[in-house]
């Protein structure tokens, strides 16, 4: 295996965990058509890295429209922040499902673990934007309230799935058990 292959492979693995699955395609498109913008990227990146976002967090981990946003550690779905809503509110015309799954995510700004409730927004079909799948502390189907595969609109009046929020419930008493 060439060094180039190994580098791409490493990049792929990191990104598969940290980024939206679909974002590979958008990045590919960016590479194909946006080569001229490359010289600007380091500056743009530096600016983005230092930008203060939600919850006192800098960079992409503080941006609710990014898969890397710290609250998204166990989310699976389209981000409502990209769909006309926000990370705590549903887009117009949809309904927030009252039952949901939860995750425990660490806020990098204060180092505290918080319980995050990923309430789905329901009543319109797939938003189709900012798909994000992260599974830190996520558990299989039989562990219902920790499972992010389920369409949690099952608890809402209208049950078509549109997008997912990330509502902070409260500080957790312990960190996520992981494996």
């Amino acid at each position: 295996m060439s060094r180039l292959d190994r580098w791409f492979e490493g990049m792929s693995r990191q990104s598969a965990r940290r980024l939206s699955r679909r974002s590979w395609l958008s990045r590919l498109g960016g590479v194909l058509v946006g080569g001229a913008a490359l010289p600007l990227l380091p500056v743009a990146r530096a600016a983005e890295k230092n930008k203060l976002g939600e919850d006192g967090v800098k960079g992409r981990e503080g941006d609710p429209r990014r898969c890397e946003y710290w609250r998204h550690c166990a989310i699976d779905g389209f981000l409502c922040s990209c769909c006309g809503g926000s990370h705590t509110a549903c887009p117009p015309g949809t309904e927030m499902s009252p039952v949901t799954w939860i995750g425990t995510c660490r806020n990098p700004a204060d180092g505290i673990d918080y319980i995050i409730s990923y309430n789905d927004c329901c009543g319109k079909t797939f938003c189709g934007r900012c798909m994000c799948n992260r599974n830190e502390g996520e558990r299989p189907l039989y562990h219902w309230y920790r499972n992010n595969d389920i369409n949690w609109c099952g608890g809402a009046k209208a049950q078509t799935y549109s997008c997912s929020t990330a509502v902070l419930v409260k500080a957790a008493k312990e960190a996520q058990p992981e494996r």
């Binding site: 791409f8 492979e9 990049m11 792929s12 693995r13 598969a16 965990r17 699955r21 679909r22 590979w24 395609l25 590919l28 550690c73 166990a74 699976d76 779905g77 039952v99 009543g123 319109k124 079909t125 797939f126 798909m131 799948n133 992260r134 599974n135 830190e136 502390g137 996520e138 558990r139 299989p140 189907l141 039989y142 562990h143 219902w144 992010n148 595969d149 389920i150 369409n151 949690w152 099952g154 608890g155 209208a158 049950q159 078509t160 799935y161 058990p177 992981e178 494996r179």
Partner: protein, 411 residues
């Protein structure tokens, strides 16, 4: 006849044949309007269903030719459920969720019954409007042995299972299964489930499909520290499940209560230290003839249990040993080729496959015949890779299989 005469005769004959050929080319026979094909009587050894979340249908492909054979629609749930095929009844069953006004209105769930040769709907059975809906569609429905009963997982969000009698086309029972999920057929009147307390249950049905009894195993896995995934594989009444940490559990659902055996590791200590993990969506496949288990494997850390893998590790189950490692093909070029207008098997495709990172695959399925094919897909790339399941040789890719989905179903 002298030579000049022969020459003339040959020229005349040749010209006549050419004229006939041109005439034949110019006048193609007229054709009938209104023809509709039917599937062959026998299900092909290498057929494959590819359900799609965005197109909301399941497409049937021939894995040898890559040709699409037909499709059945699914409802408006997040993912189509696995199509169930009864060769004995010459029927296909699909569980669909619909709404009275398109994407809104009153919800109705159905078991839709298709003729397996015409793919026309023959009828349906209405189900409680709470059939479980997940992003993967895995382990939500099952056709019990003998092809009499279909079981359908409900989630409201409480758990229950609807039982449909295919003979009477009636729903005959709703079994309460609190705390348990996923359905694993294990006989003509029995199916298993996994539960949130680390146990498994056997649900036994009476001859008419009503609940007979539920029996529970001892607790055999740690739900919090090292849970097993519900993406199991089957041989008779035995199912195998892998844990996040790579332990393979064998559970026999053939007795009164499920009987789990001691697990064994799919990954050595050194492989775990090197970061290897099992994972994906439908990440296990099993061939009941040669007893080989296929496992999607990647390198990752905590929380990577749904990441795709670019390697398929092959195990011989009787000897509990790893016998081979297959490479998953790079499916980006076969996916992009038809969209961007290049031949994925040509120069552009070869260059892209070399340059672009291999995103790996989430799901695999193996055909049960003696010359088995191993199918694989990445959940967000509309192409299916086809490998020789014995040698690992990459035979072909099937392009334009859809846009998104995690299921692969062998009829």
């Amino acid at each position: 006849m002298g030579r000049p005469s022969k020459l003339v005769a040959s020229i005349v004959l040749g010209a006549g044949l050419m004229a006939l050929t041109i005439s034949a080319r110019a006048e193609l026979p007229s054709e009938d309007v209104g023809q509709v094909l039917r599937l062959p009587e026998r299900v092909g050894d290498h057929w494959l269903w590819v359900p799609d979340r965005l197109f909301r249908h399941s497409v049937l492909f021939d894995g040898d030719s890559g040709r699409m054979l037909g499709a059945i629609d699914s409802g408006l749930q997040v993912s189509p459920r696995a199509p169930l095929w009864s060769q004995e009844r010459s029927e296909i069953y699909n569980v669909d969720t619909t709404y009275s006004r398109g994407h809104r209105g009153e919800r109705h769930d159905y078991l839709v019954i298709y003729d397996s040769r015409s793919l026309e709907v023959k009828g349906d059975v209405e189900l409680p409007p709470k059939t479980a809906d997940t992003g993967t569609g895995i382990a939500l429905v099952g056709l019990l042995d003998g092809d009499r009963f279909v079981v359908v997982l409900n989630q409201s969000p409480g758990s229950s299972v609807s039982v449909v009698d295919l003979q009477t086309r009636q729903m005959v029972a709703e079994v309460q299964t609190a705390g348990c999920a996923a359905v694993f057929p294990a006989g003509p009147s029995r199916f298993g489930m996994l539960c949130g307390d680390g146990t498994a249950i056997n649900v036994h049905l009476k001859p008419d499909g009503a609940l007979d009894r539920i029996r529970r195993s001892p607790s055999f896995f740690d739900v919090v520290d090292d849970p097993i995934t519900e993406k199991g594989v089957r041989d008779g009444s035995t199912w195998w499940f892998a844990s996040f940490g790579g332990l393979l559990y064998e559970v026999d659902f053939g007795s009164d209560a499920p009987s789990p055996k001691a697990p064994w590791p799919l990954l050595s200590k050194e492989e775990l230290e090197d970061g290897y993990r099992i994972g994906g969506a439908q990440h296990l496949a099993y061939h009941p003839g040669n007893k080989r288990l296929y496992s999607v494997t990647h390198q990752g850390g905590p929380g990577s249990h749904k990441d795709p893998g670019d390697e398929i590790w092959v195990y011989d189950l009787p000897s509990k040993t790893k016998i081979d490692v297959f490479s998953a093909p790079n499916l980006i070029a076969p996916f992009l080729g038809p969209q961007a207008g290049f031949d994925a098997e040509g120069t552009v495709g070869s260059i892209l496959s070399f340059v672009l990172p291999n995103m790996g695959v989430h799901s695999i399925a193996v055909t049960p015949d003696s010359k088995p094919l191993l199918f694989m897909r990445h959940a967000d790339l509309g192409a299916v890779g086809v490998l020789d399941a014995l040698s690992g040789e990459h035979l072909r890719d099937i392009d334009e299989t859809g846009l998104s989905g995690a299921l692969l179903v062998i009829p």
